[in-house]
């Protein structure tokens, strides 16, 4: 990602708790989907983080952020995605972001990903293209546009700020 996006995200992460940061990153990612013309629903069913639909495309995305080279995939993540796929069709995947200068969002298929600690590299072998490239293309401008608003929010309120920004984007459509 661009340095400005990295520094803004690092600032948000450092100011707000990691869990809240995860939620904020999820909102910003959802905004990225909106920017790409997707209709976005958050935690619609099966408790999956993002449901994004555009024409014939439908994605069920679990969002994971980390500052390490691995993330923890829980049983409920796998089951949630599996159920979404079975019940509603579409493609299921993980959106993984390592907060690092040399990293971008990895939008990866959930195929063969089992619960447990999973190396980020494993996701990169399942990347969903061109979606991943499209997301990364619009993500840095989104962070530049909204990052400071989130960053300046008081502790515990940043998630609500990000949520409001996402709702505004959804309503714009």
């Amino acid at each position: 990602m661009k340095a400005i996006a990295f520094e803004t995200l690092t600032g948000i992460r450092d100011k707000h708790k990691p869990r809240e940061f995860g939620k904020i990153a999820q909102k910003l990612l959802a905004i990225a989907f909106c920017r790409l013309g997707f209709e976005v629903k958050e935690r619609s069913i099966q408790d999956v983080d993002i449901e994004a639909v555009k024409d014939d495309l439908k994605y069920w995305i679990e969002v994971k952020t980390t500052d390490k080279d691995e993330v923890v995939i829980e049983e409920k993540d796998v089951n949630g995605l599996r159920q979404c796929e079975l019940l509603h069709g579409g493609e299921t995947g993980y959106a993984v972001l390592k907060i690092s200068l040399l990293s971008d969002w990895i939008i990866a298929s959930s195929r063969n990903i089992k619960p447990g600690t999973v190396r980020i590299g494993r996701f990169s072998t399942r990347k969903i293209l061109p979606l991943q490239d499209d997301i990364n293309r619009v993500f840095t401008p989104i962070v530049k546009e909204f990052g400071n608003q989130v960053l300046s929010a008081t502790e515990g309120k940043a998630q609500f700020v990000a949520d409001r920004l996402l709702k505004e984007q959804i309503n714009k459509k």
Binding site: K2, A3, I4, E7, D69, S100, L101, L102, N112, R119, G121, R122, S124, T125
Partner: protein
């Protein structure tokens, strides 16, 4: 049994307990080796292993501790050699192994249907068995049973794998595990982290520079939101407008400034704007006039100063001359005083002195004369007092008195002469001095006139004789100063305008410094766009893909392993349980099961299952081990191609009932397997001889001898 290889003949020479060649040629479906401990029974059974697998049976990997440091060849033999003859249907397989190097001959070969081969791997492939599997599923060794029944999960797992013929699969999985691909991937990740750490350090340094540049910018009046390309473009526009406005007002021309849309263009713009600003500063009319006037003022001040200095010097010299005139008059008067007054007086005094000097001279001469003569010859009357004297000293005395009187007369005259001479000398000096002063006054006057001419040029007008040049110059200077005073305000105003532009350019530079540093930070991340980085990233992706594939293969192998284990145990389940029921005959936990997930041997009573280890005694545990071994060994699902099993002293720790039960079990599997049993227990031997149904071959071992080695003999 006909589908697998069974033993037909064994010949052993010089191997461990054997010295001389011994052949076991009547190998029936049931073969019994009996005799006392240390008589060579085990050597016979081990010779079969060595013949099949060579020195590998003594390696650590085989897992039998007592075989470490084994000696293959008997110390009394010059060769260890084992020949095995196996049969499967009509096919005869001969395997020969020796430890002796013979020129041109292989130490190992096998012959199948008269075709000889030395490739051991080929033999193993044909027999579909590896040494580890042989130990578990063909040759029941006590250590395998013990491993199956220990608390160490890895030993149990390993032992069970061997019993189930899944070692190769497990080895593959273990191989994948030991490749430690995840560690390699971690190393690769760490390398990327190192790159990132370096990048972060450089970026932190640049961020620090940005912070300083921003602070400086804020001190210059910028706001934190101003450090943006759009703001820089606005400032460029402001600067450009201001420069052109100023130029127009001052009726000056400046070249057109370049476009300033991007940071690069804006940097170029700054340089051009600075040049234009410098030009305007240098060429602004008021400033130019101010400079001219200042130069003029400076010039006039220098002229005025020089004129003053020249005049002062002239006046000083004139005053000096005037002072001399005042006291002594001019040169003419002085010369007149010398020639008319002083010189005659001097001459007169000198005459008077000379007169006295003449007399004094005579006296002097007389004195010198008398001084010269030593002594007169006779008394003469003194020419002065006429007194008779007999020496000249008396006369000398008179002469000295006379001279003293003359000196008294001469002294005032001498003083007078000296006075006149000094006065004349003084006056002559003054005349010289006045002559010098006259010359100086002339020179100085000329210089003054010349300077006046220069000053007139400087002033641009004639200075009349009636005018005081200093005042005239002073007047001009005053006029200039008045004009300068007026100009000062205009210049100040112009400079303020130019300073404002300069400040804007300085702000612009500060913004650009921040933007350039930020661009440099982004440039650092362009490392990701380089071919080298992409190549590394591609390699990483390939590695990730490979690791993912390997991981999937491992998952698949583990699934296959588990499924195979389950399937084989399921197939042998009844056999194992049946054999355990027969062997152990326990009423509390009559059945036996193996949990393939936990590699646990379980004692079973209905639905109740407990680890066998927790409730079985040694005899029961041996029964459990034998049951698993024999149950699996008798199962058709076994993967290897050997149709015999070898039981070395299987009745250890078994009581009489268990032994009888074991014989029953052996009877039950004798249709499937050729059975080779060794025992040192006579009761078990007798049970075999009386209870085993199958046709038997019996080899009885006499006590071992140093010279002969093992001494088996076939008992009919």
């Amino acid at each position: 049994m006909v589908d697998r290889w069974v033993l037909k003949e064994i010949t052993i020479t010089g191997f461990r307990g054997f010295v001389k060649p011994k052949t076991f040629s009547s190998l029936e479906p049931f073969v019994l080796f009996d005799g006392p401990q240390r008589s060579g029974k085990s050597s016979t059974l081990v010779a079969i292993e060595w013949g099949l697998f060579g020195d590998e049976i003594a390696k650590k990997a085989i897992g039998i501790d007592e075989r470490r440091g084994w000696k293959i060849r008997n110390t009394n033999a010059d060769e260890a050699r084992v020949e095995l003859v196996l049969q499967k249907g009509e096919e005869i397989l001969k395997i020969v192994r020796s430890d002796k190097k013979t020129k041109g001959a292989s130490r190992f070969y096998f012959e199948l249907n008269s075709s000889r081969d030395t490739d051991e791997a080929k033999l193993r492939a044909m027999l579909e068995i590896e040494p580890k599997d042989y130990f578990s599923s063909v040759h029941l060794h006590q250590e395998v049973i013990r491993a199956l029944l220990t608390e160490e999960p890895s030993s149990k797992q390993d032992s069970l794998d061997r019993l189930l013929g899944l070692t190769a699969l497990r080895n593959t999985i273990d191989g994948i595990k030991s490749a430690k691909i995840s560690e390699v991937l971690k190393d690769v990740d760490n390398k990327f982290v190192q790159i990132e750490t370096r990048l972060n350090a450089v970026i932190a340094s640049k961020r620090n520079d940005i912070q300083k540049a921003k602070e400086t910018g804020i001190q210059k009046g910028l706001k934190s939101i101003d450090f943006a390309e759009t703001c820089a473009a606005q400032v460029c526009e402001t600067v450009e407008t201001a420069l052109h406005n100023f130029a127009n007002q001052a009726v000056l021309t400046i070249s057109n400034l370049p476009a300033a849309r991007t940071v690069g263009e804006q940097q170029f713009f700054v340089n051009s704007a600075k040049q234009s600003l410098r030009k305007l500063r240098d060429e602004q009319p008021d400033l130019k006039r101010q400079k001219e006037l200042l130069e003029k003022q400076s010039q006039l001040q220098r002229l005025q100063q020089t004129y003053k200095e020249l005049l002062d010097e002239l006046q000083r010299v004139e005053k000096e001359r005037k002072d001399i005139y005042k006291i002594d008059g001019n040169q003419e008067k002085m010369r007149s005083g010398i020639s008319n007054e002083l010189s005659p007086k001097l001459e007169d005094a000198k005459d008077r002195r000379n007169e006295i000097d003449k007399r004094a001279g005579t006296i002097e001469e007389a004195i010198k004369y008398f001084a010269a003569i030593r002594a007169p010859n006779e008394k003469q009357p003194c020419p002065v007092c006429e007194k008779a004297i007999d020496d000249v000293s008396h006369l000398q005395m008179h002469l000295n008195e006379l001279r003293a009187r003359l000196d008294e007369d001469l002294a005032p005259i001498r003083e007078e002469i000296e006075k006149y001479e000094k006065e004349i000398e003084r006056l002559e000096e003054l005349i010289k001095c006045l002559n010098d002063l006259d010359r100086k006054i002339r020179t100085q006057s000329k210089l003054l006139m010349d300077h006046k001419s220069v000053t007139e040029t400087g002033l641009g007008r004639e200075i009349k004789d009636t005018e005081d040049p200093i005042v005239v110059i002073g007047g001009e200077i005053n006029k200039i100063q008045e004009e300068l005073k007026k100009l000062e305000a205009a210049v100040k105003e112009s400079n303020q305008e130019l300073n404002t532009i300069e400040d804007d350019i300085s702000k612009l530079e500060q913004i650009l410094m921040v933007l350039v540093l930020e661009a440099e930070i982004d440039d650092l991340l362009k490392i990701r766009d380089t071919d080298e980085y992409k190549e590394v990233e591609n390699n990483k992706s390939e590695l990730e893909k490979f690791a993912d594939d390997v991981s999937l293969i491992r998952q698949a192998l583990e699934a296959v392993l588990q499924e195979s284990a389950k399937a084989k145990l399921e197939a042998a389940k009844e056999n194992i349980a049946k054999m355990f029921r027969t062997l152990a005959n326990r009423s509390d936990f009559p059945d036996l099961e193996i949990d393939p997930d936990k590699f646990e041997v379980l004692a079973v009573k209905g639905s109740e299952k407990v680890p066998a280890l927790s409730i079985f005694n040694t005899g029961d545990l041996n029964c459990a081990g034998l049951s698993v071994f024999l149950g699996l060994g008798a199962a058709q699902e076994l993967s290897h191609n050997l149709g015999f099993i070898v039981l070395d002293d299987p009745s250890q720790s078994l009581d009489d009932t268990h032994k009888e039960n074991l014989v029953s079990v052996l009877n039950s599997i004798s249709d499937e397997k050729q059975i080779l049993v060794s025992t040192s227990e006579s009761d078990f031997r007798d049970l075999i001889l009386t209870k085993v149904i199958k046709k038997k071959a019996r080899y009885e071992f006499d006590p071992w001898s140093d010279v002969e080695g093992a001494q088996p003999k076939e008992v009919q």
